[in-house]
């Protein structure tokens, strides 16, 4: 038996508990993606009930359905163009008046609507009682009560959705907003005019179009111009005249007057359906806020929460990181035992497993970080963080909400970029994404430790601090620059609701966390894999190179020579000989590895690029290290280890590498220039993938690569050449 399919759109104000209702309805059967062409998150879920298959589409949370924000346009277009069978509007009972504003706009759209009165328990605590039957009668819309965080009312809502699709509702509704004599006259005249002039091609309710034209709605105007052909201009002209008349008459924009009338209509409803008892109550949320946004305590508490988040992410996260590392090592070991030696084994072990491992290793940190972010969001603290930090962020022309993603960047740029989804304005989001890479992530630290430790000794700490500070200064500078050039435009109004604090639901937190982590795994995995395999290929091919000596036979000869001397020797001398043999052998091995990389494609590329890097004090070996750093910054240190010290296993503690670096001709100045370059240029492939995914375009990803690399070179150049001019080299 094939079941009937019902499409349900979930609408509602931000903070109305919409996502909790969505989770209650669909459970884990959700799909997260983007709305086509924009970076607004789209969530879709499914459920079956009573022989019906319900597809639930979660619309972006909005206060209204005008065409000012991307979210509003997306929500409105879905209702108008996709024509869902039912629109479910979630209303927060404790805030009914403002929530009804969206509700009145939805009922004007001539679709089947159900009102969900959510969180009636909280409203009751505040002394607000709502007469649902009366509301239903007044607006001619079915009403269901729910308590989202307790799972109450979900079943009733599903039943209401099904019966609404089965029943026949008289549309348009008789009860609707009355806009006053003058405006109503303009609406009906414009409606008649549109009807007389080719209304058939316009797909929506004509009265609604007339209202929107009087409100000067840019999307509807475009639509009229496109669909109504030659009459389109006439209709727009007529609307313009009517608008002008109204404005002259009232000395006010018609859209403002109409907003006034809608709220007036709502006030009438509120009077009839709400009963307030004067029972005094303690507003717990405001009490909490007295502490958390306190003039003196607010910022210290905020700093503490952020500190706790990082502690949790990086200390708790380090345990599973160790396990994953060990697991990947075991996997590589096993694979190299099973697969016969050769290019295939190398590809799988050094390319694929190492590449996937480099992504998987981030996973615990990312899960924890996203969990913390979900806690901040679901409790309502995120809005407070924005409230506390807005003054600072406004200096760069950003919203207070940008602070948390930027801060997360110090941990790892990838989740930081993904966390920009909490920003509503697309320009803010792109700007934040562009400057996040200037926050020095934890993967860059080993490079600084190596270089600063080698060349600056006791003052290494200060030097590293100066690199972090340089990143912040550049972020502010670039932020202001982008804001005044490519991302120019008025900053979106800050106006932000501070929702009451709520106890988050574990299920909601986990779904929230998993949704984002899944995206990271799936989409990043592919690009990172390709990138790591590419670098692996470039650094191991061509395989058959003419090495300057036959290292293997030299090592064999060495071993043979020593083995006779070792067997002849006794005691201390014997130990000394063994150590000597091992040292010489590993020096040969290192030299072999170095020469192999030097003659590989990436080595040749590094040498070809050395004229570019010479002016910033970096030799061909440094260039190769920086090239490999496109995949991940951790690789820079190991590449340098191979190229400079000739030690196969180099880490930041390696004294041999430090000595070799000092001898290599690198100076204080060139080391500092290299650190600034590492700070500024592309953090890693995963970041590029994240930028591509979150901005929904290769354009911004490529722009980020280009601008950051150019900036890195420029800053390093100024530092190196400037320093040389001042005689610092």
């Amino acid at each position: 038996m094939s079941s009937k399919v019902i499409t349900v759109a979930l609408a509602g104000n931000p903070n109305s508990g919409k996502s909790t209702i969505f989770n209650n309805l669909t459970g884990t059967r959700q799909k997260v993606g983007n709305w086509p062409g924009v970076t607004v998150e789209k969530k879709e879920g499914h459920l079956t009930a009573d022989g019906y298959h319900l597809t639930i589409v979660d619309l972006p949370g909005t206060y209204s359905l005008t065409a000012y924000s991307l979210e509003e346009i997306v929500a409105r277009n879905f209702i108008l163009d996709e024509k869902p069978d039912v629109v479910v509007d979630i209303l927060d009972c404790s805030n009914l008046e403002r929530n009804l504003y969206l509700a009145t706009q939805l009922s004007e759209l001539d679709t089947k609507v159900i009102f969900v009165l959510n969180m009636a328990d909280i409203a009751e605590e505040r002394g607000i009682e709502i007469d649902g039957d009366k509301l239903s009668e007044l607006l001619d819309v079915p009403v269901v009560f729910t308590v989202g965080n307790k799972g109450k009312g979900t079943h009733e809502l599903i039943k209401a959705i099904i019966s609404a699709t089965e029943s026949h509702t008289e549309l348009p509704r008789t009860r609707r907003v009355y806009y006053g004599r003058e405006i109503e006259k303009a609406i009906s005249e414009l409606t008649e005019f549109i009807k007389a002039n080719n209304s058939k091609k316009l797909p929506y309710n004509i009265r609604w179009i007339a209202i929107k034209l009087l409100e000067d709605d840019r999307i509807v105007k475009e639509q009229v111009r496109k669909t109504a052909d030659s009459q389109g201009e006439a209709i727009l002209k007529q609307a313009y005249l009517k608008r002008k008349n109204l404005r002259d008459f009232f000395n006010e924009d018609p859209e403002i007057l109409m907003t006034d009338h809608r709220y007036g209509f709502i006030a009438g409803i509120i009077k009839e359906v709400i009963r307030r008892n004067s029972k005094s109550h303690v507003d717990v949320s405001r009490q909490i806020d007295l502490v958390l946004t306190n003039r003196l305590l607010g910022l210290p508490i905020f700093v503490f929460f952020i500190w706790a988040m990082f502690q949790l992410t990086f200390s708790l996260g380090s345990y599973p990181v160790g396990w994953i590392d060990a697991g990947m090592g075991w996997l590589g070991q096993t694979a190299s035992e099973i697969i016969p030696d050769g290019p295939l084994a190398d590809l799988i072990v050094d390319g694929v497993i190492a590449g996937v491992g480099s992504v998987a290793i981030f996973m615990p940190n990312i899960l924890i970080l996203f969990f913390c972010i979900a806690v901040f969001e679901d409790t309502g603290y995120m809005a407070r963080a924005a409230f506390l930090m807005d003054k600072v962020m406004h200096l760069i022309g950003l919203h207070g909400k940008s602070f948390i993603p930027l801060l997360m960047g110090f941990g790892c740029n990838v989740p930081a970029i993904m966390a920009t989804r909490t920003l509503e304005s697309e320009k803010d989001r792109i700007l934040t994404i562009l400057i996040i890479p200037l926050m020095s992530c934890s993967a860059r630290l080993p490079v600084y430790i190596l270089l600063a430790g080698t060349f600056f000794g006791a003052s290494a700490g200060n030097v590293i601090f100066s690199i972090y500070a340089l990143g912040i200064v550049l972020a502010v500078t670039m932020g202001r620059l982008f804001r005044s050039t490519i991302l120019r435009g008025k900053t979106a109004p800050f106006v932000m609701e501070l929702p009451p604090y709520r106890t988050p639901m574990l299920k909601g937190l986990l779904i929230h966390m998993w949704d984002r982590s899944k995206v990271f795994l799936r989409k990043m995995g592919g690009i990172i894999l390709i990138g790591s395999v590419t670098v692996w290929f470039l650094s191991t091919f061509p395989r058959q190179v003419q090495l300057s000596k036959d290292y293997d036979s030299e090592i064999a000869a060495l071993t043979a020579e020593y083995s006779s001397r070792i067997s002849a020797a006794r005691g201390d001398l014997r130990q000394k000989l063994i150590a000597e043999r091992d040292r010489i052998a590993s020096a040969f091995e290192g030299e072999k590895a170095r020469e192999k990389v030097e003659k590989s494609y990436i080595g040749r590329l590094g040498k070809a690029l050395s004229p570019v890097f010479a002016p910033i004090g970096i030799d061909w070996r440094g260039s190769v290290a920086l090239l490999s750093g496109f995949v991940a910054k951790e690789i820079v240190v190991s590449t340098m280890g191979v190229l400079y010290a000739g030690e196969a296993e180099a880490d930041e503690e390696s004294n041999a590498l430090k000595g070799a670096l000092k001898k290599s001709g690198m100076t204080h100045l060139s080391a500092y220039a290299m650190m600034t370059f590492v700070l500024i240029y592309v953090p890693c492939i995963a970041t590029v993938a994240a930028i591509k995914h979150e901005t929904n375009s290769w354009k911004w990803a490529l722009f980020s690569i280009t601008y950051s690399t150019a900036l890195a070179w420029l800053v390093a150049f100024v530092i190196y050449q400037g320093g040389k001019a001042f005689g610092l080299a």
């Binding site: 206060y63 000012y68 008046e97 709220y263 405001r286 506390l388 807005d390 800050f494 106006v495 609701e497």
Partner: protein, 78 residues
């Protein structure tokens, strides 16, 4: 008088909202209508933004945005 001139703990009545189109419209839609009572909850630790209560909910806006909201009938503590 403007909303931004009020101190913490004061209440006033909205007269009108100025500023450019989208901002005005947004504020109207969020309930900043003529005659609405607004209570100044607090200023942020760095003195900007400002948090107010109206129609039973809390909203924050920047001080220069609050300066666009004309109010009268200011009462409450000085």
């Amino acid at each position: 008088m403007n909303l931004s001139e009020l101190r913490q703990g004061q209440t006033a009545t909205v007269v009108r909202v100025g500023g450019d189109g989208p901002f005005r419209k947004r504020l109207y839609e969020m309930g900043f209508l003529q005659g609405t009572e607004i209570y100044v909850e607090k200023y942020a630790p760095l003195r900007d933004p400002i948090e107010v209560t109206l129609k039973g909910y809390q909203v924050s806006l920047r001080v220069d945005e609050a300066a666009q909201v004309e109010v009268n009938n200011v009462r409450g503590r000085r």
